[in-house]
């Protein structure tokens, strides 16, 4: 309102019809942006609808519990068996292994960047971490297949190089920059006064780090870990190339496995459209989607709480 009043008093008042046109135009643009802003919501909802629609037919043939806890995945046999427990177990196996690699590496690197690195070091190291994050998953998969797998096979005398262990390591390297960047952000939000207070009572840098900074950034770091986990469990090409692909319940860390993502990617090309196998693969995608969705919501909730705790606006 006061803007309008101010304009009436300016040197060259616009004619009234032009004023109206501008108003209409303004409103038009606002509506346009409002509609376009809903795009991501529409796509997300669309994904949910499509997954449910294409997945439901399989649950008419196989009970949901049998589908999830069934021990045998023989989609092309006659009669076929649709039990995805080996695939779920493989995903968990590989992701947990990846976490063992990427949590220490990622959080450790973040601590280094935040505590030890000088400005000059930081200016070099941070872009390097970003570059590691931007390397495509197919390149990681290729690297794991042609370099890591033969190397580990020779080093540890494994019967087969392409196995859960190699996949974990490759995925772990891949998720490290994700964990590192988010954890580094969280650490940099910790107010300077926290550290100064700790130094003032005689703590050294390490004690300050362990007892003050890390607890203060704790929820931010856990967000980083959850998002890293979410990335690892949803990663496709790397595990498809490196994990070995056997759809049986793994007995050890060195068995070849077939995680959910790689089952979808490997078998969708062969499954006839509309067949039970086709719908079963969509059902796997649905479960995968729900898992990552839950992870993301948890991460979101934690990071919101954390911002409030540190007095940052959400």
């Amino acid at each position: 309102m006061c803007l309008l009043k101010a304009r009436q008093g300016c040197i060259l008042p616009r004619p009234p019809n032009m004023e109206n046109m501008i108003k209409v135009k303004e409103r038009l643009y606002k509506w346009l942006f409002t509609i376009l802003a809903f795009a991501s919501l529409i796509f997300l909802v669309g994904i949910v609808i499509v997954l449910f629609k294409e997945a439901l037919p399989i649950f008419k043939k196989v009970k949901a519990l049998e589908f999830i806890f069934g021990k045998f995945w023989y989609p092309t046999y006659d009669p076929p068996e649709f039990g995805i427990f080996p695939l779920i177990l493989a995903s968990v196996w590989v992701s947990v292994g990846a976490m063992l690699v990427c949590v220490p590496l990622g959080v450790g690197s973040a601590l280094y960047l935040n505590e030890i690195a000088s400005h000059k070091q930081k200016a070099v190291l941070k872009p390097l971490v970003e570059i590691l994050a931007s390397i495509p998953s197919i390149v990681y998969g290729f690297f794991g297949m042609v370099v890591l797998a033969p190397f580990l096979q020779n080093l540890l005398h494994l019967p087969i190089g392409l196995c859960a262990f190699t996949a974990s390591l490759t995925l772990g390297i891949m998720a490290t920059p994700t964990v590192c960047s988010i954890a580094e952000d969280a650490l940099s939000y910790v107010p300077k006064s926290f550290r100064e207070a700790s130094f003032a009572v005689g703590a050294n840098r390490w004690q300050t780090l362990v007892k003050v900074v890390i607890p203060a950034a704790g929820s931010g770091i856990s967000t980083a870990i959850i998002l890293g986990m979410s990335r690892a469990i949803g990663e496709t090409m790397t595990v498809l190339m490196v994990a070995g692909g056997a759809a049986v319940i793994p007995k050890s860390f060195f068995d070849p496995v077939r995680p959910m993502t790689s089952a979808i990617a490997a078998e969708m090309g062969e499954a006839p459209m509309g067949s039970d196998h086709f719908h079963a693969l969509f059902a796997i995608a649905l479960i995968l989607f729900l898992i990552t969705f839950v992870f993301n919501v948890i991460a979101e909730a934690i990071s919101r709480k954390y911002r409030i705790k540190l007095g940052l606006s959400g």
Binding site: F43, L44, P127, I131, F143, V146
Partner: protein
């Protein structure tokens, strides 16, 4: 004394972590660079594959990746920037905005293979685009939408509020302010987001597995409705199909190096723009 020893051990441990992380980066670049460079030649970059993928070049795959990337960016850029403008400039503080934010964050976390299935069910099957550049570009476009939105939002946020106030005080309307003041100031940041998303799209494989990619095609794609070869899929196919693993692995090294160079180049430009931008605002 004990706390000093603890500090020494602790600091060496986190230094070791940093070192290992960087070591992996250099290991990847070294192995792929040193073996890939042997394969790359003018012929490799400009010719089509010959003799069942064991000789010749990968030009169709390079061209295909360019098409797919371009298509995805053309689709996602206007949508992403518009969404960021709404969230940052127009959005009333309401639960609707919160829902949009939440859905962007969640879209960013959806596994890439799910985008492939979505593309297969919606673009390939439902809309009847078939396995084509169009379907693949759309699937990839949805995948990078969150990347572009968050980069644009950050860029818009970095524009000082005083610029907007100055423009409004001169009698400019909201849209005029956005178009003539805010967007130009935010352009380098948005550009950074676009460049990073190009790197991301060019390397994505899972979304195009069932929506766009073909292992071998005669000649180049003719329209947006034709199937296409793409570098990342080509690497995957070379490693898992065919009867001549040794020659194929060599070619795959070459493809990986091209992809790696593309991504590194994009990241380098983005980092360069960002650092210039930072010094621009903060002196």
């Amino acid at each position: 004394m004990r706390k000093d020893i603890a500090q020494k051990i602790g600091f060496s441990f986190i230094s070791l972590c940093m070192f290992t992380t960087v070591l992996f980066l250099f290991a990847i670049i070294y192995f792929i660079g040193s073996r890939g460079i042997k394969v790359i030649s003018w012929e490799f970059l400009t010719q089509a594959p010959r003799n069942a993928m064991t000789a010749g070049g990968v030009a169709p795959a390079i061209v295909g990746t360019l098409y797919l990337t371009l298509g995805a960016v053309v689709f996602a850029l206007p949508l992403g920037v518009a969404c960021a403008i709404y969230l940052n400039e127009y959005s009333p503080k309401s639960y609707i905005v919160n829902i949009i934010r939440l859905s962007i964050n969640n879209l960013a976390g959806v596994p890439s293979v799910v985008f492939g299935l979505f593309g297969l069910a919606v673009f390939v099957k439902f809309f009847g685009f078939g396995v084509s550049i169009l379907s693949g570009s759309l699937a990839l476009g949805i995948l990078v939408l969150p990347v572009i939105i968050s980069a644009s939002q950050e860029a818009l946020l970095a524009v000082p509020y005083s610029l907007r106030e100055a423009s409004l005080a001169l009698g400019a309307t909201k849209w005029q302010t956005i178009r003539k003041i805010v967007l130009p100031a935010a352009l380098p940041g948005i550009l950074t987001g676009v460049i990073l998303s190009i790197g991301r799209v060019a390397g994505e494989t899972a979304p195009i597995l069932f929506t766009a990619a073909a292992f071998y095609l005669k000649g180049y794609p003719k329209s947006i409705f034709s199937e296409v070869m793409a570098l990342p899929y080509h690497i995957y196919a070379l490693m898992t199909e065919g009867a001549h693993p040794e020659q194929q692995t060599a070619i795959a090294y070459g493809c990986c190096l091209i992809l790696l160079c593309l991504v590194l180049f994009m990241s380098a430009i983005a980092i360069f723009i960002r650092q210039r931008q930072r010094s621009h605002y903060y002196g």
